[in-house]
Symmetry: C2
Subunit: 526 residues, 2 copies
Amino acid sequence: MSSAPENLESYLSGRWLRGEGIETRLVDPVKGDELATVSAKGVDLKGALDFARKHGQGGLRGLSYAERGKLVGAVADVLVANRARYEDIAIANSGNTKTDAAIDIDGGIGTLKYYARLGGGLGDARMLLDEKPVRLAKAENYQAIHLMVPRRGVAIHINAFNFPSWGLWEKAAVSLIAGVPVLAKPASATALLAHAMVKDVIAAKVLPDGALSLLCGGAGGLLGALTGEDVIAFTGSADTAARVRGHPNVVARSVPVNIEADSINAALLAPDTSPGSAAFDAFLREVVREMTVKAGQKCTAIRRIFVPAGKADAVADALAEKLKGTKVGDPRQAETRMGPLVTRGQQAAAFDGIRRLASEAAIVCGGADAPTLDGIDKNKSAFVAPTLLKLKDAGGAQAVHEVEVFGPAATIVPYRDEQDAAGLIARGGGSLVASVYGEDKDFLVRIVSEIAPSHGRILAVDPMIATAHTGHGIVMPQCNHGGPGRAGAGEELGGLYGLRFYHQRLAVQGSSDLIANLQAKAASVH
Amino acid sequence: MSSAPENLESYLSGRWLRGEGIETRLVDPVKGDELATVSAKGVDLKGALDFARKHGQGGLRGLSYAERGKLVGAVADVLVANRARYEDIAIANSGNTKTDAAIDIDGGIGTLKYYARLGGGLGDARMLLDEKPVRLAKAENYQAIHLMVPRRGVAIHINAFNFPSWGLWEKAAVSLIAGVPVLAKPASATALLAHAMVKDVIAAKVLPDGALSLLCGGAGGLLGALTGEDVIAFTGSADTAARVRGHPNVVARSVPVNIEADSINAALLAPDTSPGSAAFDAFLREVVREMTVKAGQKCTAIRRIFVPAGKADAVADALAEKLKGTKVGDPRQAETRMGPLVTRGQQAAAFDGIRRLASEAAIVCGGADAPTLDGIDKNKSAFVAPTLLKLKDAGGAQAVHEVEVFGPAATIVPYRDEQDAAGLIARGGGSLVASVYGEDKDFLVRIVSEIAPSHGRILAVDPMIATAHTGHGIVMPQCNHGGPGRAGAGEELGGLYGLRFYHQRLAVQGSSDLIANLQAKAASVH
């Protein structure tokens, strides 16, 4: 990184350019140094969309899924070749530890590679078969088939600050395989990594012109310039999500919007799980990991820890011991296990949330003040200590189900019985993910079925996979990502299912000959 | 029908009740008689939702899909038993001919029966299997499965005035099979039929308490009382759709909304189709049918008639001859083939639309004045003559792609070649349905593929099915109903696919034992 702040440019209409003035300054959340600035003020966004529609669509539409799979694979190759530089950027701009940076960077590369393979598997087709022909009348020669065809617009990807790499590529991979050009807008505060990666990909000339655009800075009139052929995939806060989804032009033109917002995700320890058992240990390990990885800045992180009432104190003690042993500090130090939040604004919001939780729950460890750390200036950095809270009485509590601290904080919620636990979990109003840990398979099946309607993903850990699972908060590209209600009611990834959002699904009714002809041209997604 | 106006009641919170005063008067569009009034002013809608959530959910949730299938079948049986009365209501309140009434009434009953069978086919299951287990790691014992579980809220069904029966039951059938209680709001102007049908179903006690509620009158604070567990399925105008989708509470809580709005649907005659051929005749027959059935008041009706430029005059002459021969009048007369629009307000809007179309197209027959008809009082009735317009120059025309006349009116659009036709069709901005007619199968496959991204359904008519197809505008329960952009970007029906909207889809990650256990409990939808 150079010491003079870089003026990050956007890549729009096939060239690098910058808006007027400074909209946002990008700051190292450990040292407080200004790293870069962004602005998209005055930039021609409508022109950028037109360019993407014309050149990006033109360049992708004629290709098969397999050909687009090769493009996506080539993007992954460019990122692999340049990977060494990305880690330093993630450490400086996001306060990531090396492990945090790896989750973000390798998560992005891995998802690109996964979708490159899926695209390859769809072969020469240019449309997808969703449902085989069905007869529509007594006569066999009149049938219907359900196909999916790529949309003709541009995909607007509005990404969150916590995953500048993974968030960018998990969306772009799916969109590009589907043949829909991407205009990605990273969160300004941590845009350095997305900018560097896109710069490398553009320089490598692996994608058609207009297939990938990058907007560094405010979105300005972007949403007002969309048509019903475009789509929006958004990840971020519920408040911003509501502004996107409720935008008059988005509403008027029925622009499809996929929202993935924060939620108050739960982990649950089953009633009869003994301390020291494989499931019990997996539960403790996962809660601590979720609270501290990326300093708790994951939309999937565990925020509510459901424990049988009689075990709440024992669990609190065990978690507090592990959390207190987590070395917090400058991620450039080898022994550091947890870095800061990404900005001082996020730090202030986290402290505010901890105070709201503390109005009804006891603080077991951590708290709403900046921790004292060796060699760290409290007035320039954005650290929050791992903070565990514990409710005495879950019945009357409200904030625990409503306030998300987007940082290393979670609350123990004691529950009486299975039904009580399921009811309390649902009070989160819809979540991306929950995880349940236990030995009694019947209990696990029952609780999964009971809490399923308010979740987009559930991880059930029994002894068979206590050390083999991929984690509560890690989003696998094979699995649905999204959740109902508060979580935004979106659906991302999930293998081929993720392609749906970028396709128009339709029924074609016609003669058996014509339907067979169409069927032969389409690749099956089941 | 009695001669004194009936004060229609709503069925909410398990009882029949009525709001204060009069919100809307229901009028016979042939004679001008007031048939009934509705009001939901001051009614406790939040209480009605709570009742449906508690009792309706409680009553449906414990049942299997097959058991709910039996309930839906029982609803169909009640309607069949009372069918004779419904026809008179449809004629009086909607100005339907007997054929129009049959499409609405029997379409509703048929869709209920279709979904009753589908429910039966899902057997004892209480959740659905969307995707079989996939391995998530090298170890075989860690897997993911994708399930769908019924939502825990209430389905708000806001229906359009043109299909008081079919619109009600095509939504309710799917929702009830999925286990989600229904609160249906018919359009006030034609609510008599929905009211009579629900009254019969409630009196027959075939559904659990709270599984079916009916709101006759304004929706008032309904949308503001919804939660993220509820869903909204709306059919109607794009303007009202935007108000529903953009409602602050709907946006804030991510209430899923399915919109099915009007669109400017196209029919296309292929370039080399000879007059007198089976495809040519099927094209003429279908255009006339679409323009006159239900006096053109179908969201799926043909509005734009694409014809090779050299054949435009011949097609115009042939269509005009058939349209002029269509007997318009009181649907109580046996020889009547087309009745009035549903209200004088709709008549005025249709005339306004015809005038806007006539600013760029020539009127071939019909027009923007009430026709003179034997025994009909122009000042009390809502008739519009079958109105055909023809564009001279399709290139510069705008209104034809933007103005929907919700009545018996359509415009001939001459096209130069395949590419020109596809470009012009897409200018509709997204449609529910298009139909194409021709003999050249290669052309049909090409044009279907080309226009697919802007459609939810396409009917391709070749000689093999020229007399066997089910029609451009008739929505089969097996087929997707909805379309992108202007059409609202919704997806209804389509067999089992329609159940998705009423389910939460989620990934469950766990041990192979646990996943196998869940898989065994779920019914496959593929």
